[in-house]
């Protein structure tokens, strides 16, 4: 049995915000919340289950504005969405590698973001696609870049009354491609020991746009802004892959944990950046994805 709690199931967004402001813990798919409760790490007085809020379930695509993903959209829905595979391949790679089918069936993209884990598989891909968060509170809504959403391990900018409502992801350029490489010790059911996401737009051999994001390489998910800026506008044939790897890894700040040491992670990161870059490059030149 889970510890006792009061359960609220509002169908109205503002009602959910009010309950959250009063201290109720938000639950979406529960794949983080119920695990923490089973383990005794979380003993909430009250839970507010937001799954009854219908428009948070919707996910749509528009060729001008891109994806609008309701926070309650499950990883499984993203994984099975053909359009995501065609246009946002790294996001497909991220969501389809979360946990297992069972976890993806329940776990939501909003929960993945709000949980604030540096290892979150959907976050790196969303970062390189330039995603923004639509946040709603009792007094109204605001738009925040996902890159500014995380303030520390398991900490986000959400105020007491605020919920993540939708995630907005602009359409990728036609001459672009993306890749997410997740490094784990076993092939399934493992958190990313490291993750590298890349978005690359090419004009022949000139790097028109490059965005790089890391999972589990710092206290929060992060972008490698300096490396991106240094490479933007360059001919990719003029830079060695090894240099790209070194440059990007120098921006990371991983910690040592029982999974791996900081030193190992930094070395590995150099390799994964090269692998992700080459993969994105091949996809961009292949003209698909």
């Amino acid at each position: 049995m889970l510890p006792q709690f009061e359960l609220y199931r509002p169908t109205n967004l503002l009602e959910a915000c009010r309950l959250k402001a009063q201290g109720a813990v938000v639950v979406a798919g529960g794949t983080d919340v119920y695990v923490a409760m089973h383990g005794g790490k979380l003993r909430p007085q009250a839970l507010v289950d937001i799954k009854g809020i219908a428009d948070m379930q919707e996910a749509t695509y528009d060729q001008n504005s891109g994806l609008t993903i309701g926070a309650l959209t499950t990883h499984r829905t993203i994984e099975e969405w053909e359009l995501v595979k065609q246009k946002y391949y790294a996001l497909f790679e991220g969501c389809s590698q979360v946990g297992s089918v069972q976890i993806r069936q329940r776990g939501t993209i909003g929960g993945n973001i709000c949980n604030g884990a540096p290892s979150a598989d959907s976050v790196g891909p969303l970062l390189v696609f330039g995603a923004e968060c639509l946040v709603v509170g009792e007094k109204g809504q605001r738009k925040v870049p996902l890159a500014g959403f995380f303030t520390g391990p398991k900490k986000t900018i959400l105020a007491d009354d605020e919920l993540l409502y939708k995630i907005l992801v602009p359409p990728p350029a036609p001459n672009s491609a993306s890749a997410y490489i997740k490094y784990t010790r076993r092939r399934a059911m493992d958190l990313a020991l490291l993750g590298v996401s890349i978005y690359l737009a090419l004009d022949k051999s000139r790097i028109e746009e490059l965005r790089i994001a890391f999972a589990t390489a710092a206290p929060t998910p992060m972008r490698a802004y300096q490396t991106e800026a240094k490479l933007r506008g360059k001919d990719y044939r003029s830079i060695s892959l090894a240099d790209i790897g070194k440059m990007a890894a120098a921006e990371a700040n991983p910690r040592s944990s029982w999974r791996a040491s900081r030193e190992f992670r930094l070395r590995l990161l150099e390799q994964l950046v090269q692998q992700a870059f080459t993969t994105a490059l091949q996809r961009a030149e292949g003209g698909d994805l």
Binding site: L2, F5, L7, V35, R76, Q102, I103, Q105, M189
Partner: protein, 158 residues
């Protein structure tokens, strides 16, 4: 609210019960309905022993509240055999020797059922990917993969 009355269909049979909101779907199936085929392994989403189908989709019943299943159709391992005749998947698991201690088997069968509904003729690779959430400590998985391919070849209703 601390208790709620829910209506669920389990293996085709309708139930109406009042349960504590802190009861998991797994506890509801095992303790309220005495359907003990569904197993409690880790209680944290890692092992898949508790896998059941909710509206046709596999979920970990340890990570879902019973009240979240209100209005849903649940399918458990007890629903596979019909009038004493085993389901093709069960036949195939026996035939291929895919069961040793058997603790993972009910969950495996549920994931396999969902898999065959999605891919009627699955490849070994698809099977391994779709069953990634079901851990088996005995068989080494090979015979489980073989069993599912065998069941798909029996070419009956998945």
């Amino acid at each position: 609210m601390k208790t709620l009355t829910i209506q669920v269909t389990v293996n085709g049979e309708a139930f109406c019960k009042t349960v504590g909101v802190n009861m998991t779907l797994l506890e509801f199936l095992r303790e309220e309905l005495h359907l003990t085929g569904t197993k409690l392994g880790c209680n944290e989403g890692e092992c898949g022993a508790c896998t059941v189908l909710v509206d046709g989709k596999p979920v970990n019943s340890c990570l879902m509240l019973a009240v979240e299943a209100d209005g849903a159709e649940i399918f458990t391992v007890e629903g596979l055999a019909k009038d004493g005749t085993l389901h093709p998947l069960q036949e195939a698991f026996i035939e291929a020797g895919a069961v040793q201690c058997g603790f993972c088997t009910p969950g495996m069968l549920m994931s396999a059922k969902a898999l065959l509904d999605k891919y009627p003729k699955p490849t070994a690779q698809q099977i391994r990917k779709e069953l990634e959430g079901n851990i088996c400590r005995c068989t080494g998985y090979d015979r489980i993969v073989k069993a599912i391919i065998l069941a798909s070849e029996m070419n009956k209703e998945g």
